[in-house]
Protein backbone atom coordinates (compact mmCIF):
# COMPACT_ATOMS: atom_id res chain seq x y z
CA UNK A 1 0.00 0.00 0.00
CA UNK A 2 1.44 3.33 -1.12
CA UNK A 3 1.41 6.12 1.40
CA UNK A 4 1.88 9.85 1.31
CA UNK A 5 3.08 12.20 4.05
CA UNK A 6 1.12 15.34 4.86
CA UNK A 7 1.69 17.97 7.54
CA UNK A 8 -1.44 19.78 8.71
CA UNK A 9 -2.40 22.17 11.45
CA UNK A 10 -5.18 20.31 13.25
CA UNK A 11 -7.00 22.36 15.88
CA UNK A 12 -3.94 24.60 16.07
CA UNK A 13 -1.41 21.77 16.51
CA UNK A 14 0.97 20.58 13.83
CA UNK A 15 0.29 16.95 12.90
CA UNK A 16 2.19 14.73 10.49
CA UNK A 17 0.29 11.85 8.93
CA UNK A 18 1.52 9.05 6.69
CA UNK A 19 -1.53 7.67 4.91
CA UNK A 20 -2.78 6.09 1.68
CA UNK A 21 -3.59 9.10 -0.54
CA UNK A 22 -7.23 8.14 -1.09
CA UNK A 23 -7.98 7.34 2.57
CA UNK A 24 -10.90 9.49 3.62
CA UNK A 25 -10.00 12.48 5.77
CA UNK A 26 -12.76 11.35 8.16
CA UNK A 27 -10.94 8.05 8.78
CA UNK A 28 -7.58 9.78 9.21
CA UNK A 29 -9.05 12.13 11.80
CA UNK A 30 -10.92 9.43 13.71
CA UNK A 31 -8.63 6.41 13.41
CA UNK A 32 -5.14 7.84 12.92
CA UNK A 33 -5.39 11.04 14.95
CA UNK A 34 -7.92 9.79 17.52
CA UNK A 35 -10.29 12.70 17.01
CA UNK A 36 -13.65 10.95 17.32
CA UNK A 37 -15.74 14.12 17.29
CA UNK A 38 -16.55 14.08 13.58
CA UNK A 39 -19.10 11.30 13.06
CA UNK A 40 -19.90 9.14 10.08
CA UNK A 41 -23.59 9.38 9.31
CA UNK A 42 -24.34 8.57 5.69
CA UNK A 43 -20.82 8.39 4.26
CA UNK A 44 -22.17 10.05 1.09
CA UNK A 45 -21.91 13.77 1.82
CA UNK A 46 -25.63 14.13 2.49
CA UNK A 47 -25.95 14.40 6.27
CA UNK A 48 -23.10 16.72 7.27
CA UNK A 49 -22.22 15.18 10.63
CA UNK A 50 -18.63 14.58 9.45
CA UNK A 51 -18.26 18.31 8.65
CA UNK A 52 -14.88 19.83 9.50
CA UNK A 53 -13.49 23.24 8.65
CA UNK A 54 -10.74 23.29 6.03
CA UNK A 55 -9.05 26.68 6.16
CA UNK A 56 -12.28 27.97 7.69
CA UNK A 57 -14.71 26.51 5.13
CA UNK A 58 -17.08 23.69 6.11
CA UNK A 59 -16.56 20.52 4.09
CA UNK A 60 -17.69 16.91 4.51
CA UNK A 61 -14.64 14.87 5.52
CA UNK A 62 -16.19 11.60 4.28
CA UNK A 63 -15.70 12.74 0.66
CA UNK A 64 -12.17 14.18 0.95
CA UNK A 65 -9.19 12.00 0.01
CA UNK A 66 -6.54 12.80 2.64
CA UNK A 67 -3.88 13.30 -0.04
CA UNK A 68 -5.83 16.24 -1.46
CA UNK A 69 -5.41 18.11 1.82
CA UNK A 70 -2.20 20.02 1.18
CA UNK A 71 0.66 20.63 3.62
CA UNK A 72 -0.04 23.60 5.87
CA UNK A 73 -3.83 23.27 5.67
CA UNK A 74 -5.68 24.30 8.83
CA UNK A 75 -8.25 21.74 9.90
CA UNK A 76 -10.69 22.41 12.70
CA UNK A 77 -12.79 19.64 14.19
CA UNK A 78 -15.36 19.93 16.98
CA UNK A 79 -12.53 19.19 19.44
CA UNK A 80 -10.89 22.49 18.47
CA UNK A 81 -13.99 24.55 19.13
CA UNK A 82 -13.31 25.18 22.80
CA UNK A 83 -9.94 26.70 21.96
CA UNK A 84 -11.68 29.67 20.38
CA UNK A 85 -13.78 32.42 21.95
CA UNK A 86 -16.55 32.03 19.37
CA UNK A 87 -16.49 28.27 19.80
CA UNK A 88 -16.92 28.46 23.59
CA UNK A 89 -19.79 30.90 23.08
CA UNK A 90 -21.48 28.50 20.67
CA UNK A 91 -21.10 25.60 23.12
CA UNK A 92 -22.82 27.73 25.77
CA UNK A 93 -25.74 28.89 23.65
CA UNK A 94 -26.34 25.44 22.14
CA UNK A 95 -26.63 24.13 25.73
CA UNK A 96 -28.76 27.07 26.93
CA UNK A 97 -31.22 26.82 24.07
CA UNK A 98 -31.49 23.04 24.21
CA UNK A 99 -30.28 22.83 20.63
CA UNK A 100 -28.97 19.27 20.92
CA UNK A 101 -31.20 16.27 21.49
CA UNK A 102 -29.60 12.98 20.42
CA UNK A 103 -26.52 15.00 19.54
CA UNK A 104 -25.29 13.00 16.58
CA UNK A 105 -25.51 15.92 14.14
CA UNK A 106 -24.01 18.47 16.53
CA UNK A 107 -20.26 18.06 15.78
CA UNK A 108 -20.98 19.11 12.20
CA UNK A 109 -23.85 21.46 12.94
CA UNK A 110 -21.90 23.61 15.41
CA UNK A 111 -18.92 23.87 13.04
CA UNK A 112 -21.28 25.16 10.34
CA UNK A 113 -22.48 27.74 12.90
CA UNK A 114 -18.89 28.70 13.67
CA UNK A 115 -17.98 29.04 9.97
CA UNK A 116 -21.05 31.18 9.28
CA UNK A 117 -20.53 33.57 12.19
CA UNK A 118 -16.81 33.86 11.45
CA UNK A 119 -17.65 35.00 7.91
CA UNK A 120 -20.89 36.88 8.65
CA UNK A 121 -21.42 37.81 12.31
CA UNK A 122 -24.84 39.34 11.56
CA UNK A 123 -26.75 36.73 9.54
CA UNK A 124 -30.51 36.94 9.05
CA UNK A 125 -32.63 33.84 9.60
CA UNK A 126 -32.53 32.84 5.92
CA UNK A 127 -28.73 32.98 5.92
CA UNK A 128 -28.61 30.88 9.10
CA UNK A 129 -30.90 28.26 7.64
CA UNK A 130 -28.98 28.16 4.37
CA UNK A 131 -25.61 27.84 6.13
CA UNK A 132 -26.92 24.79 8.01
CA UNK A 133 -28.81 23.25 5.08
CA UNK A 134 -26.02 20.71 4.60
CA UNK A 135 -26.41 19.44 8.17
CA UNK A 136 -29.37 17.16 8.73
CA UNK A 137 -30.94 16.88 12.20
CA UNK A 138 -33.78 14.43 12.79
CA UNK A 139 -34.60 15.55 16.34
CA UNK A 140 -34.85 19.28 16.81
CA UNK A 141 -36.72 20.55 13.78
CA UNK A 142 -33.87 23.08 13.56
CA UNK A 143 -35.72 25.87 15.38
CA UNK A 144 -33.59 25.72 18.53
CA UNK A 145 -30.44 25.55 16.47
CA UNK A 146 -31.46 28.73 14.62
CA UNK A 147 -32.19 30.38 17.96
CA UNK A 148 -28.79 29.39 19.31
CA UNK A 149 -27.01 30.90 16.32
CA UNK A 150 -29.05 34.10 16.68
CA UNK A 151 -28.12 34.26 20.37
CA UNK A 152 -24.45 33.63 19.58
CA UNK A 153 -24.50 36.36 16.93
CA UNK A 154 -25.62 38.90 19.52
CA UNK A 155 -22.55 38.16 21.65
CA UNK A 156 -20.10 37.23 18.86
CA UNK A 157 -16.54 38.52 19.45
CA UNK A 158 -16.37 41.88 17.71
CA UNK A 159 -20.19 42.32 17.73
CA UNK A 160 -20.98 44.62 20.64
Amino acid sequence: MKTITRIWKVNGEEKTVKVPPMRRLLDVLREDLGLKGAKEGCGEGECGTCTVLINGAPMVSCLIPAGQVRDGTEIMTVEGLEKTEGGRLLQEVYADKGSAQCGFCIPGMILSSYALLSRNPNPDEAAIREAHAGNLCRCTGYQKIVEAVQAAARKWPGNK
Binding site: M22, I54, L63, G134, L136
Partner: protein, 288 residues
Protein backbone atom coordinates in the same frame (compact mmCIF):
# COMPACT_ATOMS: atom_id res chain seq x y z
CA UNK B 1 -14.08 -5.82 -2.42
CA UNK B 2 -11.66 -3.01 -3.09
CA UNK B 3 -11.13 -0.14 -0.70
CA UNK B 4 -10.34 3.50 -1.35
CA UNK B 5 -7.07 2.90 0.53
CA UNK B 6 -5.95 0.55 -2.23
CA UNK B 7 -6.20 3.23 -4.88
CA UNK B 8 -3.14 5.22 -5.85
CA UNK B 9 -3.32 8.94 -6.58
CA UNK B 10 -0.96 11.20 -8.51
CA UNK B 11 -0.60 14.85 -7.56
CA UNK B 12 0.65 16.76 -10.63
CA UNK B 13 1.82 20.31 -9.88
CA UNK B 14 0.65 21.90 -13.11
CA UNK B 15 -1.48 21.18 -16.17
CA UNK B 16 1.47 20.11 -18.30
CA UNK B 17 2.39 17.41 -15.77
CA UNK B 18 -1.23 16.27 -15.58
CA UNK B 19 -1.55 16.03 -19.38
CA UNK B 20 1.67 14.05 -19.54
CA UNK B 21 0.30 11.54 -17.03
CA UNK B 22 -2.96 11.32 -19.02
CA UNK B 23 -1.12 10.81 -22.32
CA UNK B 24 0.29 7.42 -21.36
CA UNK B 25 -2.03 4.51 -20.63
CA UNK B 26 0.36 3.28 -17.93
CA UNK B 27 0.31 6.51 -15.92
CA UNK B 28 -3.25 7.57 -16.74
CA UNK B 29 -5.79 7.82 -13.93
CA UNK B 30 -9.33 8.94 -13.23
CA UNK B 31 -9.31 12.73 -12.90
CA UNK B 32 -10.65 13.90 -9.53
CA UNK B 33 -11.17 17.41 -8.19
CA UNK B 34 -13.85 17.93 -5.52
CA UNK B 35 -14.69 14.24 -5.32
CA UNK B 36 -18.30 14.93 -4.37
CA UNK B 37 -19.60 12.50 -6.98
CA UNK B 38 -16.65 10.12 -7.45
CA UNK B 39 -15.99 9.37 -3.78
CA UNK B 40 -19.63 8.35 -3.37
CA UNK B 41 -19.75 6.34 -6.59
CA UNK B 42 -16.54 4.47 -5.77
CA UNK B 43 -17.48 3.73 -2.16
CA UNK B 44 -20.95 2.51 -3.07
CA UNK B 45 -19.76 0.44 -6.02
CA UNK B 46 -21.80 2.40 -8.60
CA UNK B 47 -18.50 2.99 -10.42
CA UNK B 48 -15.61 0.50 -10.31
CA UNK B 49 -12.54 1.86 -8.52
CA UNK B 50 -9.72 2.60 -10.92
CA UNK B 51 -6.10 1.71 -10.15
CA UNK B 52 -5.22 5.36 -9.89
CA UNK B 53 -6.74 8.81 -9.55
CA UNK B 54 -5.17 12.03 -10.83
CA UNK B 55 -5.76 14.96 -8.53
CA UNK B 56 -6.62 18.14 -10.45
CA UNK B 57 -7.74 20.22 -7.47
CA UNK B 58 -4.38 21.93 -7.07
CA UNK B 59 -3.66 22.86 -10.69
CA UNK B 60 -3.28 26.65 -10.96
CA UNK B 61 -4.26 26.64 -14.68
CA UNK B 62 -7.71 25.30 -13.83
CA UNK B 63 -8.56 27.95 -11.24
CA UNK B 64 -10.05 31.40 -11.53
CA UNK B 65 -12.88 33.32 -13.14
CA UNK B 66 -12.05 36.06 -15.65
CA UNK B 67 -13.87 38.06 -18.30
CA UNK B 68 -13.29 39.57 -21.70
CA UNK B 69 -15.62 41.84 -23.68
CA UNK B 70 -18.16 39.17 -24.61
CA UNK B 71 -17.54 36.20 -22.37
CA UNK B 72 -16.79 34.92 -18.91
CA UNK B 73 -14.00 32.34 -18.71
CA UNK B 74 -14.32 29.85 -15.85
CA UNK B 75 -11.52 27.44 -14.98
CA UNK B 76 -12.43 23.75 -14.81
CA UNK B 77 -11.62 23.45 -11.09
CA UNK B 78 -13.61 26.51 -9.99
CA UNK B 79 -15.98 25.42 -7.22
CA UNK B 80 -19.70 26.07 -6.92
CA UNK B 81 -18.97 28.30 -3.91
CA UNK B 82 -16.51 30.35 -5.96
CA UNK B 83 -19.04 30.73 -8.79
CA UNK B 84 -21.92 31.82 -6.59
CA UNK B 85 -19.71 34.37 -4.82
CA UNK B 86 -17.97 35.67 -7.96
CA UNK B 87 -19.19 39.20 -8.83
CA UNK B 88 -18.35 38.47 -12.50
CA UNK B 89 -20.57 35.36 -12.55
CA UNK B 90 -23.34 37.08 -10.56
CA UNK B 91 -23.51 40.01 -12.99
CA UNK B 92 -22.89 38.33 -16.35
CA UNK B 93 -24.17 34.77 -15.79
CA UNK B 94 -26.89 35.16 -13.15
CA UNK B 95 -28.55 31.82 -13.90
CA UNK B 96 -25.27 29.97 -13.36
CA UNK B 97 -24.66 31.81 -10.07
CA UNK B 98 -28.17 30.87 -8.93
CA UNK B 99 -27.74 27.23 -9.96
CA UNK B 100 -24.37 26.92 -8.18
CA UNK B 101 -26.02 28.24 -5.01
CA UNK B 102 -28.60 25.43 -5.03
CA UNK B 103 -26.21 22.50 -5.31
CA UNK B 104 -26.02 20.34 -2.17
CA UNK B 105 -25.22 22.48 0.85
CA UNK B 106 -22.27 24.70 1.77
CA UNK B 107 -20.04 21.66 2.31
CA UNK B 108 -20.62 20.33 -1.21
CA UNK B 109 -20.45 23.76 -2.83
CA UNK B 110 -17.02 24.30 -1.29
CA UNK B 111 -15.68 21.14 -2.98
CA UNK B 112 -17.61 20.40 -6.17
CA UNK B 113 -16.37 21.98 -9.39
CA UNK B 114 -17.92 23.14 -12.67
CA UNK B 115 -15.99 20.59 -14.76
CA UNK B 116 -16.71 17.84 -12.26
CA UNK B 117 -20.42 18.49 -12.56
CA UNK B 118 -20.24 18.47 -16.37
CA UNK B 119 -17.97 15.41 -16.52
CA UNK B 120 -20.21 13.47 -14.15
CA UNK B 121 -22.83 14.09 -16.86
CA UNK B 122 -25.78 13.14 -14.69
CA UNK B 123 -29.14 13.94 -16.30
CA UNK B 124 -29.87 15.73 -13.01
CA UNK B 125 -26.67 17.83 -13.10
CA UNK B 126 -27.80 21.25 -11.90
CA UNK B 127 -25.43 23.35 -14.03
CA UNK B 128 -26.38 21.95 -17.46
CA UNK B 129 -29.32 24.23 -18.32
CA UNK B 130 -27.50 27.39 -17.17
CA UNK B 131 -24.54 26.47 -19.37
CA UNK B 132 -26.66 25.63 -22.44
CA UNK B 133 -28.59 28.92 -22.53
CA UNK B 134 -25.30 30.82 -22.98
CA UNK B 135 -24.41 29.04 -26.26
CA UNK B 136 -21.05 28.59 -24.57
CA UNK B 137 -18.06 26.45 -25.36
CA UNK B 138 -15.79 24.12 -23.42
CA UNK B 139 -12.06 23.82 -23.94
CA UNK B 140 -10.41 20.44 -23.45
CA UNK B 141 -6.70 19.72 -23.62
CA UNK B 142 -4.40 16.81 -24.24
CA UNK B 143 -0.63 16.64 -24.62
CA UNK B 144 -1.21 17.29 -28.34
CA UNK B 145 -3.01 20.58 -27.78
CA UNK B 146 -6.40 22.15 -27.11
CA UNK B 147 -9.80 21.56 -28.65
CA UNK B 148 -12.88 23.76 -28.35
CA UNK B 149 -16.39 22.28 -28.44
CA UNK B 150 -19.86 23.81 -28.31
CA UNK B 151 -21.43 22.81 -24.99
CA UNK B 152 -24.58 21.78 -26.85
CA UNK B 153 -22.50 19.12 -28.63
CA UNK B 154 -20.39 18.15 -25.60
CA UNK B 155 -23.19 16.19 -23.88
CA UNK B 156 -23.51 13.05 -26.02
CA UNK B 157 -25.88 10.81 -24.09
CA UNK B 158 -26.61 9.33 -20.69
CA UNK B 159 -23.43 9.97 -18.65
CA UNK B 160 -21.47 10.41 -21.87
CA UNK B 161 -19.48 13.46 -22.95
CA UNK B 162 -17.20 14.16 -25.90
CA UNK B 163 -13.94 13.65 -24.04
CA UNK B 164 -11.10 11.34 -25.08
CA UNK B 165 -9.25 9.20 -22.48
CA UNK B 166 -6.15 11.43 -22.67
CA UNK B 167 -8.08 14.71 -22.46
CA UNK B 168 -8.93 16.97 -19.53
CA UNK B 169 -11.53 19.73 -19.37
CA UNK B 170 -9.61 22.97 -18.78
CA UNK B 171 -12.06 25.87 -19.00
CA UNK B 172 -15.48 27.11 -20.07
CA UNK B 173 -16.07 30.15 -22.30
CA UNK B 174 -19.55 31.44 -21.60
CA UNK B 175 -21.02 34.43 -23.48
CA UNK B 176 -22.29 37.13 -21.13
CA UNK B 177 -25.92 38.11 -20.87
CA UNK B 178 -26.58 41.22 -23.00
CA UNK B 179 -27.87 44.47 -21.57
CA UNK B 180 -31.67 44.33 -21.63
CA UNK B 181 -31.71 40.54 -21.34
CA UNK B 182 -32.92 38.57 -18.37
CA UNK B 183 -32.12 35.08 -17.24
CA UNK B 184 -32.78 32.90 -14.25
CA UNK B 185 -32.73 29.38 -12.90
CA UNK B 186 -35.45 27.36 -11.25
CA UNK B 187 -35.31 23.91 -9.74
CA UNK B 188 -37.76 21.61 -8.14
CA UNK B 189 -36.79 18.94 -5.63
CA UNK B 190 -38.16 17.45 -2.43
CA UNK B 191 -36.30 20.00 -0.29
CA UNK B 192 -34.27 23.13 -0.97
CA UNK B 193 -30.84 21.70 -0.12
CA UNK B 194 -29.14 18.30 -0.42
CA UNK B 195 -31.74 17.07 -2.89
CA UNK B 196 -31.35 15.78 -6.41
CA UNK B 197 -33.64 17.70 -8.73
CA UNK B 198 -36.86 16.34 -10.17
CA UNK B 199 -36.76 19.05 -12.86
CA UNK B 200 -34.67 22.16 -13.33
CA UNK B 201 -34.55 24.85 -15.98
CA UNK B 202 -32.91 28.08 -17.09
CA UNK B 203 -33.80 30.78 -19.58
CA UNK B 204 -32.14 33.78 -21.15
CA UNK B 205 -34.21 36.25 -23.14
CA UNK B 206 -35.39 39.75 -23.85
CA UNK B 207 -38.75 41.38 -24.46
CA UNK B 208 -40.11 44.66 -25.73
CA UNK B 209 -43.16 45.38 -23.65
CA UNK B 210 -45.07 42.10 -23.72
CA UNK B 211 -43.50 40.90 -26.95
CA UNK B 212 -40.78 38.24 -26.76
CA UNK B 213 -37.69 39.31 -28.75
CA UNK B 214 -35.24 36.50 -27.85
CA UNK B 215 -35.75 33.39 -25.81
CA UNK B 216 -33.37 30.54 -25.01
CA UNK B 217 -34.61 27.88 -22.62
CA UNK B 218 -33.03 24.68 -21.32
CA UNK B 219 -34.29 21.92 -19.03
CA UNK B 220 -32.57 19.25 -16.97
CA UNK B 221 -33.71 15.91 -15.48
CA UNK B 222 -36.20 15.44 -18.32
CA UNK B 223 -33.90 13.64 -20.79
CA UNK B 224 -30.60 11.69 -20.69
CA UNK B 225 -28.77 15.03 -21.14
CA UNK B 226 -29.68 18.64 -20.47
CA UNK B 227 -31.68 19.94 -23.45
CA UNK B 228 -32.59 23.17 -25.21
CA UNK B 229 -36.07 23.49 -26.73
CA UNK B 230 -35.29 24.98 -30.18
CA UNK B 231 -38.77 24.48 -31.68
CA UNK B 232 -40.38 26.14 -28.71
CA UNK B 233 -37.86 28.99 -28.79
CA UNK B 234 -38.73 29.64 -32.46
CA UNK B 235 -42.45 29.51 -31.78
CA UNK B 236 -42.43 31.93 -28.84
CA UNK B 237 -40.32 34.68 -30.42
CA UNK B 238 -42.59 37.49 -31.65
CA UNK B 239 -45.54 36.40 -29.47
CA UNK B 240 -47.29 38.83 -27.14
CA UNK B 241 -47.32 37.30 -23.67
CA UNK B 242 -50.86 36.98 -22.33
CA UNK B 243 -52.95 34.27 -20.74
CA UNK B 244 -53.72 32.47 -24.02
CA UNK B 245 -50.08 32.32 -25.12
CA UNK B 246 -48.96 31.24 -21.64
CA UNK B 247 -51.52 28.42 -21.57
CA UNK B 248 -50.42 27.24 -24.99
CA UNK B 249 -46.72 27.57 -24.05
CA UNK B 250 -47.26 25.37 -21.03
CA UNK B 251 -49.00 22.71 -23.15
CA UNK B 252 -46.36 22.82 -25.86
CA UNK B 253 -43.44 22.37 -23.44
CA UNK B 254 -45.17 19.45 -21.71
CA UNK B 255 -45.88 17.77 -25.05
CA UNK B 256 -42.37 18.37 -26.39
CA UNK B 257 -40.35 16.54 -23.74
CA UNK B 258 -40.18 12.84 -23.01
CA UNK B 259 -39.02 12.40 -19.42
CA UNK B 260 -39.06 9.05 -17.62
CA UNK B 261 -40.49 7.63 -14.40
CA UNK B 262 -37.74 7.03 -11.84
CA UNK B 263 -37.18 7.01 -8.08
CA UNK B 264 -37.36 10.80 -7.90
CA UNK B 265 -40.47 11.56 -9.91
CA UNK B 266 -42.81 10.45 -12.69
CA UNK B 267 -42.78 11.34 -16.38
CA UNK B 268 -46.25 12.89 -16.10
CA UNK B 269 -45.30 15.14 -13.17
CA UNK B 270 -42.06 16.21 -14.86
CA UNK B 271 -43.96 17.21 -18.02
CA UNK B 272 -46.44 19.25 -16.03
CA UNK B 273 -43.78 20.96 -13.89
CA UNK B 274 -41.63 21.71 -16.95
CA UNK B 275 -44.56 23.52 -18.53
CA UNK B 276 -45.13 25.48 -15.32
CA UNK B 277 -41.46 26.40 -15.02
CA UNK B 278 -41.30 27.74 -18.60
CA UNK B 279 -44.58 29.61 -18.05
CA UNK B 280 -43.01 31.25 -14.99
CA UNK B 281 -39.95 32.18 -17.05
CA UNK B 282 -42.12 33.91 -19.67
CA UNK B 283 -44.05 35.79 -17.00
CA UNK B 284 -40.78 36.91 -15.44
CA UNK B 285 -39.39 37.92 -18.85
CA UNK B 286 -42.17 40.42 -19.53
CA UNK B 287 -42.70 41.57 -15.93
CA UNK B 288 -42.25 45.32 -15.29
Amino acid sequence: MKFLEDMDCAFPKNLQEALKLMADEKSRGRPIAGGTDLMVQWSSGVLPMPERAIDLSGLPELKGVSENTDSVVIGAAVTHAEMRRSPIVQVHLPSLAQAAATIGGAQIQARGTIAGSVANASPAGDLGPSLLITNGRVVVASKAGEREIELAKFFLGYRKIDLQPDELIVRFILPKIHAGCRESFRKLGPRAAQAISKVMGSYRGSAKGKEVKDFAVALGSVAPIPIRLPEFEQWIVGKEIGKKVLDEAEQRVAAMIKPIDDIRSTAEYRQWVSGRIVRGFLEELVAE
